[in-house]
């Protein structure tokens, strides 16, 4: 083995003449990406659409402040600008005006026929789009002219603005085809975006190249080529960033942030994410969670500031509910359960939970002892769960921590087979949260995995979903947040920061709080002179 090492060291010296480091330039930017896409079809993929969004544009996207902004649409339709009208039969019509002069990369014009084709293709149901959310409420699409698509909804659907965030499917390419099997499109989709796919080398990389006549002007995109290298192992990805083989890594894991701060040439761009880490309390599986005083006592027992300032290096901030500060629906004035272990103990005492001889509270023969599950291999979560264990123990609540691998854990919670879970939800720009809290949205009908039932709240949630007027909807959602905070169905901890490592010289990069991803404005990125 020694000889092998010596031989390799010699060979390494020989190869050292061609150093692999390439400085980032407007010629090419190399991105270390954590996984290979399954398909480049934005409607069918079930992972983030970062690479896809460089090629296929939506009618809208959302910016780093979570404002919904038009891309292929001229404007976002609202009740105020006349783009949205409520029909007497309870339905809703949304008029999308398309941007004129936009062409697919093959030169064919992008028209309302493509919008109609997309809706029809998804509703036809003979292939496997990931989500048909909203589409299944569309009864038909009219195309009065080539740049106007009128979407007829059977009922009022408040999240309509994000309906076409994944763009449109090109009718002239896909009409009459089995889209699942349309490998040409699914590997090299035809788009209207600033880049096109040049090469997808399976297991290795996807290379994108700027298109010559991008509709925003021929000066865009500024960076000629983007190379996405698939590096699933986190340490390998970080090593490549340090060695300069990749110049950018999207979504740096929080526990790697500290070691990257000192890497020269790299800037860590941080935005407040539209997601929140919290402890789900499954009332169906562990009955004491159904008691409001137990939930409130737990909220008082947890020192969230301490967790954030120590374990998370203050990367994130404490939050008190599911809708995050960047959302237009965010309500700041809600009940806050400050860290107060004495108050927690008093609440439990008065609810009849008596301290047992082993330091764990008991009531009617039931011990206040449950298992907290969380994802293994997620270093920070493992640490946070231990902190929670200690803090809850101090008020007489016993917590056992069980780590479960990432693939298994989702089937565990979907079956409701757990007491409590430390995890996050990552949300889109629309503030809909009905799926998580409505009483009729417990699995398998939704993601109400607190198994929390509050009829008033459920009614408020559905009312907000069926309010097309933005202002009126936000009023309802603010009331929802206040009620949620009082009832504490789960324990909100902190929001999810999104940290991207980019070259110091990269201009125009803003990051993005949602799954629209940091590449939402890639057309305007450029590297300044060294």
């Amino acid at each position: 083995m020694k000889r092998v090492l010596i031989a390799c060291a010699l060979a390494a010296t020989a190869c050292g003449k061609t150093p692999p480091k390439v400085a980032a330039s407007n010629e090419m930017l190399t991105i270390g990406y954590d996984r290979e896409p399954d398909t480049m079809n934005r409607y069918a993929t079930h992972i983030l659409e970062d690479i896809e969004s460089c090629v296929v544009e939506g009618l809208v996207t959302n910016d780093e402040r979570m404002n919904i902004i038009p891309v292929l649409a001229l404007e976002v339709p609202t009740t105020q600008n006349g783009g949205v009208t409520l029909r007497p039969d309870g339905g809703m019509d949304v008029v999308w005006k398309l941007r004129p002069g936009v062409r697919w990369h093959d030169g064919v014009s992008h028209t309302s026929a493509d919008v109609k084709f997309t809706v029809d293709a998804i509703n036809k149901g003979d292939w496997k789009p990931e989500s048909v959310d909203g589409f299944d409420r569309i009864s038909s699409v009219d195309t009065p002219d080539s740049l106007t698509a009128v979407i007829h909804y059977r009922e009022v659907y408040a999240p309509y603005r994000m309906q076409f965030v994944r763009g449109t499917l090109p009718k002239h390419i896909l009409a009459g085809k089995n889209i699942d099997a349309a490998t040409d499109y699914n590997r090299k989709p035809l788009g209207t975006g600033p880049y096109r796919v040049v090469e997808w080398k399976t297991g290795e990389y996807i290379l994108l190249e700027g298109v010559p006549n991008y509709w925003r002007g021929s000066e865009f995109p500024k960076i000629r080529r983007l190379l996405f290298k698939f590096l699933p192992n986190t340490t390998t990805r970080i090593n490549q960033l340090k060695s300069g083989e990749v110049q950018m890594v999207a979504l740096v894991p929080w526990d790697k942030v500290r070691e990257l701060r000192s890497v020269p040439g790299i800037r860590l761009n941080q935005v407040v994410g539209n997601g929140y880490e919290h402890v789900t309390l499954n009332q169906r599986h562990f009955a004491p969670f159904a008691e409001l005083s137990v939930r409130r006592a737990m909220a008082h027992a947890i020192d969230r500031e301490l967790i954030v300032n120590t374990l998370l290096d203050s990367l994130v901030t404490v939050v008190n509910g599911p809708i995050q500060p960047l959302s237009s629906a965010y309500e700041k004035n809600v009940t806050v359960f400050a860290y107060d272990p004495a108050r927690a103990r008093a609440l439990l005492d008065s609810a009849g939970w008596v301290m047992g001889t082993d330091g764990v509270r008991v009531k009617d023969g039931q011990r206040l002892s449950f298992t907290l599950i969380t994802q293994s291999g997620f270093a920070i979560r493992e640490n946070v769960s231990q902190a929670l264990q200690k803090q809850l123990r101090d008020v007489g609540i016993d917590v056992k921590v069980r780590l479960i691998d990432g693939t298994s854990i989702s089937s565990v919670w979907f079956k409701g087979d757990f007491d409590a879970m430390l995890h996050w939800w990552q949300q889109g720009a629309d503030p809909e949260i009905t799926l998580f809290f409505a009483a009729d949205r417990m699995p398998p009908a939704g993601r109400n995995i607190n198994y929390f039932r509050d009829d008033t709240l459920t009614a408020m949630l559905y009312a907000s979903d069926r309010t097309a007027d933005e202002t009126a909807r936000l009023v309802l959602l603010r009331q929802v947040q206040q009620r949620l905070a009082r009832l504490v169905p789960e324990l909100p901890l902190y929001n999810t920061a999104k940290v991207d490592a980019v070259p110091v010289r990269l201009q125009g990069f803003t990051g993005n709080p949602t799954n629209a991803g940091p590449f939402w404005n890639v057309y305007q990125w450029r590297l300044s002179a060294p």
Binding site: I47, E245, T407, V412, L435, G446
Partner: protein, 314 residues
């Protein structure tokens, strides 16, 4: 000889059937499934998950799924990946060259290192101690740790070599591809050569103690001739069996090494498919792996057969 081959192949068919049933049961017993990744995404509603479950045929009883798979598999229809919808056979085949390249080179390097070290260690006590220490280190070093350290030193600190991947994005020239191979091949070869040199040493030691070697030495043969022409051929059959069995394990990909070095071989496809519970790819992968182990076992037997005349009357 031909009869041996035919008999072994015939014996392996029921064995493969049992393996397929076991593997199918095991991967379905693991929690989660191809739809697990969808659950984390709030945009995918429960209605979508039900629709996809039906579309993928996952709503059928397990027994029905198994026999449908088996019937298609034996007819050469390996199905479509649950992850990206492409044919399983395409997904496997496109990964094979990278794995062959890595495993092939590592095995050759490991052999070149193990042969002289093993022989010398058998006859020279001082060298034996030294190589023993190095070999134990080589066997004990966890691959994921050793690989990452090599990356930090040779790619990070020294900047001599690319840390991972198979080539530069444009395919790379010969030097580029060799430089990408060095680190992963070193990691694999280190572990293999460490183990192999110890096996060979043991086999050689057993041989050099036997009377026919003493007799040969008494006839005045040089030590060199004694070792290479008399002892080595006798020690080889055991060694070759071990080497071929090790390689058969690696034929289904060096799973850890490939993931650490982002090597686009079948091993990293396996890791990825396991995380996504891509049953179609996993079944095909594990069946191919079993066939490879059986085939190389057969090759090992035939090689011993050829190397050792005493086994020929079997």
């Amino acid at each position: 000889m031909i009869r041996v081959v035919v008999r072994r192949v015939a014996q392996s068919i029921p064995l493969l059937l049992v393996i397929s049933l076991l593997v199918f049961a095991l991967i379905h017993a693991a929690p989660g499934g191809p739809l697990s990744t969808y659950l984390e995404n709030p945009n995918v509603r429960p209605e979508d998950i039900e629709r996809l479950r039906k579309a993928m045929g996952l709503d059928r009883p397990l027994g029905v799924q198994y026999f449908a798979w088996l019937w298609a598999f034996v007819r050469g229809d390996w199905g479509f990946s649950y992850a990206d919808g492409r044919p399983v056979l395409d997904r496997l085949l496109e990964r094979v060259p990278a794995t062959l390249e890595l495993v092939g080179l590592s095995a050759v390097v490991a052999l070149i290192a193990a042969l002289p070290v093993g022989i010398l260690a058998a006859v020279n006590r001082r060298f034996d101690r030294l190589s023993g220490v190095v070999a134990v280190a080589g066997i004990s070093l966890p691959v994921f740790w050793f690989g990452l350290v090599l990356q930090l030193v040779f790619a990070g600190a020294l900047g001599w070599l690319p840390s991972s991947g198979r080539s530069a994005f444009d395919g790379g020239d010969f030097t580029d591809r060799v430089s990408h191979l060095i680190l992963p091949a070193t990691v694999l070869a280190a572990a293999l050569s460490a183990a192999w040199s110890r096996y060979l040493r043991r086999a050689m030691r057993d041989t050099v103690r036997r009377p026919f070697i003493r007799a040969a030495r008494a006839r005045g043969l040089t030590e060199r001739r004694l070792l290479l022409h008399h002892a080595l051929p006798n020690a080889l059959p055991t060694f070759v069996t071990v080497v071929l069995l090790d390689i058969s394990m690696l034929a289904s990909g060096a799973v850890v090494t490939e993931s650490i070095f982002a090597w686009p071989g079948v091993g990293s496809l396996f890791t990825e498919s396991l995380a996504r519970r891509d049953y179609a790819v996993l079944m095909a992968f594990l069946m191919c792996g079993s066939v490879a182990v059986m085939l190389l076992n057969l090759v090992a037997d035939l090689a011993v057969h050829a190397l050792d005349p005493r086994t020929r009357d079997l």
